[in-house]
């Protein structure tokens, strides 16, 4: 008790503090830990801006008589106004641009077109159309195909929440299969460096070709990748440009040229559309594509008549041919047919060098006819018959010959008959597009036009009339799928 008495103040203080101390220790073990708190520097984040545009050269190569046909017959997912800039580049170069809505037929359009453009279709091309395009390309026509993952038509039904997808790739690949190009059902992206969005890709790697010569950077705004077999990859992604299919990348191709050099395929066409056409070298590339479209040498054959001329046609009578009423009447029909293709037909026995030629004459080894017949190696020594390469020997009586020659500077169509009286009939048949009585092989045709009933005794291995060869459609290229690299 004495202890209590002596230390009462201390004891009181201890028992006063102890409960609080015990409770405090029970609940609290020290000061709360504080981690370093840092905040993003939002003010430093700015809107990314596109690279400055490289202006396209002012001087362009002018062409004449070139027609570019724009496919709008396969529910194509674009409107022509979107690619107005590209169309303008074509017209600036002297081309005429037509929109193919199905009438006249693709076959007819391709007879005179220099290039055929396809943008993101959402219906299939028929096997016949695929083959017509194949024949067109094999004759030197240019086929330019634009796919675009942003036009894959993924729509949302707001009433059900369901989405509908019609990737253009499904409809394009059957068209491209004959040329060893297959567009992948993916899109490219780059999370490391991009133009405002991960799917807007900078491309700085280019295959060597006139199309890409001098390009330093183009930007595609949503692009499919593609695979080529025997073709030329034109625009390639860097190692960090990846495919959405595999999340892997390195050298993925966004544009390619087919092995035959006539089919150009792009995995995007947003780069044609304002304002993206003015980014980096896009405008330059657009000009190059226009040049490519018009630089093909679409060779025509007789079956393409009246689309066998590129410029004003001069009618050249040869020998002692008299232009009577019969032949004038049929020539008037022929003039109408030719002028429907925007080509003028004029009568000029001594034409200048700038015109195409329609030569009329009688089968005979005359001096003025000789220069026109020279390329065809005709045998006319026998007065009763004529020898044609690939045809053999044909009886002259009642025969009409169609001889067509195409060069870079001139197209010449020669119409010959055994007698002057048969010539109007041959001209009329041609004007009417009725060559059902003719055997045509590429640039030479032999027609039964007169009463003489010419007989054919040749041993030609191939004759083909009236249309172009239409081989059966079989895909020649099956794309391989690269193995994805898994993410870590």
């Amino acid at each position: 008790m004495e202890i209590l008495k002596r230390n009462r103040y201390w004891i009181a203080m201890v028992v006063l503090i102890l409960p609080a101390l015990l409770r405090g220790v029970w609940f609290y073990h020290g000061l709360p830990s504080h981690s370093k708190v840092e905040q993003p520097d939002y003010a430093a984040n700015v809107l990314p801006q596109p690279p400055v545009s490289t202006p396209a050269p002012e001087n362009v190569t002018l062409t004449s008589g070139k027609v570019v046909v724009l496919d709008d017959n396969h529910s194509n997912q674009f409107v022509p106004s979107e690619v107005e800039n590209f169309i303008s580049e074509l017209t600036k170069r002297g081309a005429r641009v037509e929109v193919d809505t199905g009438d006249p037929s693709l076959f007819t359009r391709l007879r005179y077109a220099s290039a055929y453009l396809i943008f993101s279709p959402s219906t299939y091309f028929s096997a016949e159309e695929v083959n017509q395009l194949k024949a067109f390309v094999s004759q030197g026509g240019r086929l330019i195909v634009f796919a675009d993952p942003t036009r894959g038509l993924t729509s949302i039904d707001y009433s059900t929440g369901s989405t509908y997808s019609k990737p253009d790739v499904d409809y394009l690949n059957p068209v491209l299969a004959p040329y060893g190009v297959a567009v992948n059902k993916d899109y490219l992206y780059n999370l490391d460096k991009h133009e405002g969005n991960f799917r807007n890709i900078f491309f700085t790697q280019f295959g060597r070709h006139a199309l890409t010569d001098g390009l330093s950077q183009v930007v595609f705004y949503g692009a499919h990748s593609m695979q080529t077999e025997g073709g030329t990859p034109l625009i390639l992604g860097d190692a960090k440009t990846l495919s959405s299919n595999t999340d892997a990348g390195g050298g993925l191709v966004a544009a390619a040229l087919s092995g035959n050099g006539n089919v150009l395929v792009f995995g995007d066409f947003s780069f044609l559309v304002p304002p993206y056409n003015t980014v980096a070298d896009n405008n330059l590339l657009i000009g190059r594509i226009a040049d490519f479209a018009l630089s093909g040498s679409h060779t025509h054959v007789i079956a393409d008549f009246p689309y066998v001329f590129d410029r004003t046609v001069s009618v050249v009578p040869t020998g002692k041919l008299q232009l009577g009423t019969d032949i004038l009447g049929s020539l008037a029909s022929l003039q109408k047919a030719i002028e429907e293709t925007d080509i003028k037909l004029e009568f000029n026995p001594k034409p200048d060098s700038s015109t195409d030629r329609l030569v009329l004459g009688i089968i005979s080894p005359g001096e003025d006819l000789a220069p026109y017949l020279e390329p065809f190696d005709l045998g006319m020594d026998d007065p009763q018959s004529i020898t044609l390469p690939d045809f053999g020997t044909i009886n002259r009586a009642g025969i009409g010959l169609l001889l067509y020659q195409h060069t870079a500077t001139r197209n010449t169509l020669v119409l010959l008959t055994d007698s002057e009286s048969d010539l109007p009939s041959l001209v009329s048949s041609l004007a009417a597009g009725d060559l059902t009585s003719c055997v045509v092989h590429e640039d030479v045709g032999a027609c039964a036009v007169g009463s003489g009933g010419g007989s054919y005794s040749g041993s030609s291995s191939f004759m083909n009339f009236p249309s172009l060869e239409i081989p059966s459609y079989t895909p020649e290229f099956t794309p391989s799928i690269s193995t994805p690299t898994p993410l870590p």
Binding site: I11, L16, H29, S35, D192, N197
Partner: protein
Amino acid sequence: MKVGKWEISWDQVRMILLWVALPLIVGVLIAAAIPRPVIGVVYLDMPIDTYSARYILTQLDYARTHASVRAVVLTLDSPGGTVADTETIYQELLALRRVKPVVASVGSMAASGAYYLASGTDYIIANPTSEVGNVGVIGYLPDNPAIFESTVSTGPYKLWGEPRDTYLREMEMIKQGFYQAVKLGRGSRLKVGPEIILTGRIWPGSEALRVGLIDALGSPTDAAAKAAHLANVDHYQAVDLAVPAYAQVLASTNFFYQTKDGITLSYPTKPGLYLLYIPPLPVEK
């Protein structure tokens, strides 16, 4: 007075009462005034919009200004939401973190904007199958500017806000801010780079742990324990802060698009930019 074998005088009793019992009673009373530590729990189980943001901000403010709240557990079960509201909550979270630890507990989902918030906490705990991540921005672009005869305006973007292309670039800018938040918040705990994070992937909790988007797998109880540990407290009580803070959710009925049939879809009603995860929609060929 005899107590057992002890002989105690009244003076002695008085002394004990005065110098021991009384101080002890006073000490106990004083001790009782020491509050039991509170781990405040803030629930975000809805998309982030103006209304839910206000609901959360009220609670965060309460936590910051009340000493009894020693730490906060932010329980997330949200697909994210609007950009501005997410950033507002995020910044308030950082302000709170400067004075008190904050732990995120992920329920079924902390996607996009919700993960933005999680990245602003000290520690993230999720279930093995919680959906975590989806770092990025989505948006619905406005139409191209056009002229309407019946709706007039004083400038080309008065009606449209900004050009479509600018919208896209603004989205990129917001994404950069989001990634910076994740990078600063996770620091060296983040085991993958932007090329992975910015794919926008959503990871299950166990995978999110592997890539460093979260710190541990566990339950909300584990999260509260972690918060208590960070606050250096024990024997805490977990309190839903909505109650003491009088926070009330003003129902945001029109955030998600509703069909005429009353079906609520998983994408927002208004066009704009969002820090939001939208689950894949069914595709009909």
